[in-house]
């Protein structure tokens, strides 16, 4: 699936920041992955192990922090967790909602030596 190209992009981000900070090794990569993202943790790990070979990130530990799907209601302003993909606001039954988190795949930080 698309985790191959997604993992390449993730590694690009990591290597760019590692180089900018003069890292010899990247020991840990802290990732934020929303539960609404289609990206599969296990596949990212699988491809990472292959494509990070011979880079400063080889052997780095991938640490995933999962975020829940949270939306905010444009009508009443309340924030709520979206359950079973029902985006209707539980407070006012409004349908104008915006995703605040749960869709992202982000490199939050890297740990380097």
């Amino acid at each position: 699936m698309h985790e191959m190209s997604v993992t390449e992009n993730m590694l690009d981000v990591v290597l760019r920041h590692a180089a900018r900070n003069g890292a010899d090794r990247v020991t840990r990569i802290n990732l934020v992955l929303g539960e609404f993202s289609t990206v599969m943790e296990a596949s990212v790990q699988f491809y990472f192990d292959i494509i990070s070979k011979d880079t400063v990130a080889e052997g780095a530990e991938l640490n995933f922090r999962k975020t829940k799907l949270i939306a905010s209601c444009s009508d009443c302003g309340s924030e709520f967790e979206v359950v079973e993909y029902d985006f209707t606001c539980p407070s006012c039954k409004g349908s104008e909602t915006e995703i605040i988190s749960g869709r992202e795949f982000q490199v939050e930080s890297i740990e380097i030596k």
Partner: protein, 217 residues
């Protein structure tokens, strides 16, 4: 030492998607990203759309396929400019490939660019191409339970085309249940029910699309 990064993995794609938007805006174009599972009827739908817009809106097509050029030959046969992108195994189109295609095509006189994404209900939803409109097709044969299995695609599409309605009598497809589920996920989605085989329902879609294109112009 911990270094703060806070960079989205899809950011690189989104930067190129923004470049595509600029190309589309500068060219006075309207771009539609068409997504669906393999065999849902993407190419048939494009052929119907080209025919329906004949004499009204001039169309060009970008064909994304893992391999082969069967679909682009079908479309070129309809007399519209077509460019084929073979993704070589990748299951979705990325903004960069569409950027290359847009730059290679002669778009003078063109008003609508249709992108046929790779047949897949998962991955294409993550990659913005710089489109004006995300259109997805669900064919009746796939069943009405798909929204909860592929929520990102259903919640991000502006338009849902339910294709192959000619097959409904032969299935247990429940249109009401489908609409109810999709509307909860995506309250503003436009739903068109049609058959690319019989032509039923196509006119309604063509009128709506032409209006959207004119509004932008």
């Amino acid at each position: 030492m911990e270094i703060e990064v806070l960079e989205g993995v899809f950011d690189a794609n989104e930067i190129i998607a923004k470049e595509n938007r600029a190309l589309i805006e500068d060219g006075g174009l309207f771009m539609m990203n068409l997504m669906a599972s393999p065999g849902a009827g993407k190419t048939s739908f494009i052929m119907r759309t080209i025919k329906g817009l004949e004499g009204k809106v001039s169309v060009a097509v970008i064909e994304g396929d893992i391999a082969g050029k069967v679909d682009s030959e079908r479309i070129a046969g309809a007399g519209v400019p077509t460019i084929q992108i073979n993704t070589g195994g990748s299951c979705h189109l990325e903004a960069k490939q569409v950027n290359t295609a847009l730059n290679r095509m002669d778009l003078s006189g063109v008003e609508l660019v249709i992108v046929e994404n790779v047949g897949n209900l998962v991955c294409p939803a993550e990659f913005k191409l710089g489109e004006d409109l995300k259109v997805m097709i669900l064919s009746v044969a796939e069943g009405d339970d798909k929204p909860l299995k592929y929520p990102l695609m259903f919640s991000e599409s502006h338009v849902l085309i339910v294709n192959k309605i000619d097959l409904i009598p032969h299935t247990d497809f429940d249109m009401e249940r489908l609409e109810e589920t999709v509307r909860k996920m995506n309250p503003h989605v436009e739903i068109f029910k049609l058959s690319c085989r019989t032509g039923e329902g196509i006119e309604c879609w063509i009128d709506w699309l032409e209006k959207r294109i004119r509004e932008k112009q």
